[in-house]
């Protein structure tokens, strides 16, 4: 399992109902079902992942965060997880709204565009940054809505969401030491993880 998924699991209470959007091969929901006594389900846009996940016996549907969330009942889940997907959806703001309609908590992780290496590359080269996390050319990346941690905090404030917890995560997915200041985390954190409520 990816290390950042460990951090996500730490935020989820046992025996809760979880919807994982962009669940990939379902390793997070597999863990939640097996060892966390959760009722966890997934949505994934890539069919080969869906087949793999259902082939492992996991409740996963083929679907798209931009269109399929509207079909879930209000308050139907305790947690709605969107990991490393926010930057790739068409309407991130609406997706967040849907997540907090469906679930009591929203857990969102995304690669932080405010990281100093990206800032430096843009400053010195004047070109779209390329790093391990942002590994594709601007014209072939599925990431259409990159944002920084500060951007995300601002959006959450504007929408009236409460940030229950946040953390910066390093390249490998482990917790990074920037827990005091979001400004520092925004500069040094490669990935961001937020726990929101309404």
């Amino acid at each position: 399992m990816r290390l950042d998924q460990r951090c996500i699991i730490d935020m989820i209470k046992q025996q809760s109902k979880v919807l994982d959007i962009g669940c990939g091969d379902g390793s997070l929901i597999d863990y939640l079902c097996r060892y966390h006594q959760c009722d966890a389900r997934g949505i994934e846009v890539d069919m080969s992942y869906v087949t793999k996940a259902v082939g492992k016996g996991l409740p996963v549907i083929h679907g798209n965060a931009d269109f399929d969330l509207q079909h879930y009942p209000t308050g139907g889940f305790d947690y709605v997880v969107l990991s490393r997907t926010l930057q790739a959806v068409n309407r991130p703001r609406e997706v967040l709204q849907q997540m907090l309609r469906i679930g009591r908590y929203a857990i969102v992780s995304f690669p932080n565009f405010g990281h100093w290496t990206l800032r430096l590359q843009l400053l010195l080269k004047g070109r779209m940054p390329m790093t391990n996390v942002w590994g594709k050319y601007w014209y072939e990346t599925p990431n259409i809505h990159p944002c920084t941690m500060t951007d995300f905090v601002n959006l959450s404030r504007k929408e009236g969401y409460k940030i229950e917890r946040w953390m910066a995560i390093d390249d490998q997915g482990g917790r990074a030491p920037w827990e005091r200041s979001i400004r520092l985390a925004n500069f040094f954190g490669e990935q961001a993880l937020f726990l929101l409520t309404r």
Binding site: C33, Q37, D39, R41, M47, V50, T51, V54, G55, K56, G57, L58, P59, V60, I61, H62, G63, D68, H71, Y72, P73, G76
Partner: protein
């Protein structure tokens, strides 16, 4: 009994002495209020029912299918229609599960249908065209009687494709406590105008055959072969995809023909002789009245009908786990129709998995080799088996 009728009886090759059968003397009350008695159900079972009776899987066959899921079909002498899916070590493993498949109500492979002798005292002989209108729900209710007979409290799964898929959905709605899991494949929660239109062309082909004789053909020792064959040919096209037909036949001509000749009559293209073969094969094993009865049952099907057209309401009380499967090149029951089912299930918070199998073989692909279909069904079954074990520990 008239001599011609005697011939019909003797030529009734769909009666196999090995078929398992059960008679319910009191019959069944149909959705239209009519009583159909007695009710006979022909079925096949594979594997062993566990002592706890918790490993039974009901398989629902498609429109013109039968109860011979696997092994050799005693009538056609060919392999069963799902022998690549069901059997020892197969995705639906008969070493683990007890498989039941009934011939549907209204069909002609041993379960009560238009071919059956009527015992309602109104007319002597067979039901023929007088056989009452039945629905998918009636078919499911008949299956339920058999399941009760086996004293199975809860089916581990109900699985079916096409019309069989409609039955699986009906099971989940009608008997929410009696089905742990449901796998509807290449199906829909309702029969669309286009679906009905295709069926109607088939029925009209049958009715316009001079041997149809108002559905009493058996009294005259004839059968509307040509009409039934045309109906089958037309339906068969809807089961395939354009790509599958192109790959198989393209525009290839019959061997004896030259490119320079332009005949109008006779078999010109290879795809034509293929359809003729499909049609003639079919009339040997299927009854015209049954075809009319069952296609009508499909046409009536709309799961949301009893709920003011609201499918979400229809699913409001389901408890089963669903694995909805669609086929990418199926244009008879396209993926969009499976999405309708999945979305309605999501709205009621049901546990649902949904996979679209990438295939260019069309609607019929669920009967053919499709590795992803095998992986999906095998994985889903083993997954829910584990979940059921976990639930047992928890409770």
């Amino acid at each position: 009994m008239a001599e011609s009728e005697e011939n019909y009886l003797n030529s009734d090759e769909n009666q196999d002495p090995l078929t398992q059968k059960i008679m319910f003397k009191d019959g069944i009350c149909l959705e239209n209020g009519q009583y159909l008695a007695p009710l006979e159900i022909a079925y096949q079972t594979y594997g062993q029912l566990s002592a706890a009776k918790d490993n039974a899987i009901l398989i629902c066959h498609a429109l013109t299918g039968d109860q011979y899921v696997t092994d050799i079909n005693p009538i056609s002498k060919k392999a069963g229609w799902w022998s690549n899916m069901v059997g020892p070590g197969c995705p639906i493993d008969t070493n683990k599960y007890f498989i039941i498949c009934t011939n549907v109500l209204g069909s002609c492979m041993g379960t009560t249908g238009p071919r059956s002798m009527r015992e309602d005292g109104q007319k002597i002989g067979r039901w023929g065209a007088d056989f009452p209108a039945i629905t998918i729900k009636d078919m499911v209710n008949a299956q339920k009687m058999l399941i009760d007979h086996f004293q199975i409290k809860q089916l581990f799964a109900v699985i079916g494709g096409s019309m069989g898929g409609m039955q699986t959905l009906q099971w989940a709605v009608s008997y929410p406590d009696q089905v742990y899991a449901v796998i509807p494949i290449a199906t829909s929660s309702f029969h669309s105008a286009q679906n009905i239109a295709f069926n109607e062309v088939g029925r009209q082909a049958i009715f316009s055959d001079p041997d149809w004789r108002d559905g009493e053909y058996w009294r005259y020792g004839v059968t509307p072969y040509r009409g039934l064959a045309v109906a089958r040919m037309m339906a068969h096209i809807t089961y395939l995809s354009e790509d599958a037909l192109n790959r198989k036949f393209g525009r290839r001509l019959q061997e004896r023909l030259k490119d320079s000749s332009f005949p109008i009559f006779g078999e010109v293209f290879q795809v034509e002789s293929y359809l003729h073969y499909q049609g003639s094969n079919f009339v040997r094993r299927f009854d015209a009245n049954s075809y009319v009865t069952i296609t009508r049952a499909m046409d009536w099907f709309d799961l949301s009908h009893a709920y003011d057209g609201d499918l979400v309401q229809a699913f409001a009380h389901v408890k089963s786990r669903f694995c909805v499967i669609s086929l990418s090149s199926d244009w008879l029951f396209p993926t969009s129709r499976s999405r309708v089912i999945v979305q309605a299930l999501n709205r009621v918070g049901a546990r649902v998995s949904f996979v679209e199998i990438a295939t260019d073989k069309g609607h019929d692909a669920f009967l053919l080799e499709e590795p992803d279909l095998d992986i999906t069904i095998r994985g889903f079954l083993s997954g829910i088996e584990e979940q059921r074990r976990l639930e047992h520990y928890a409770s």
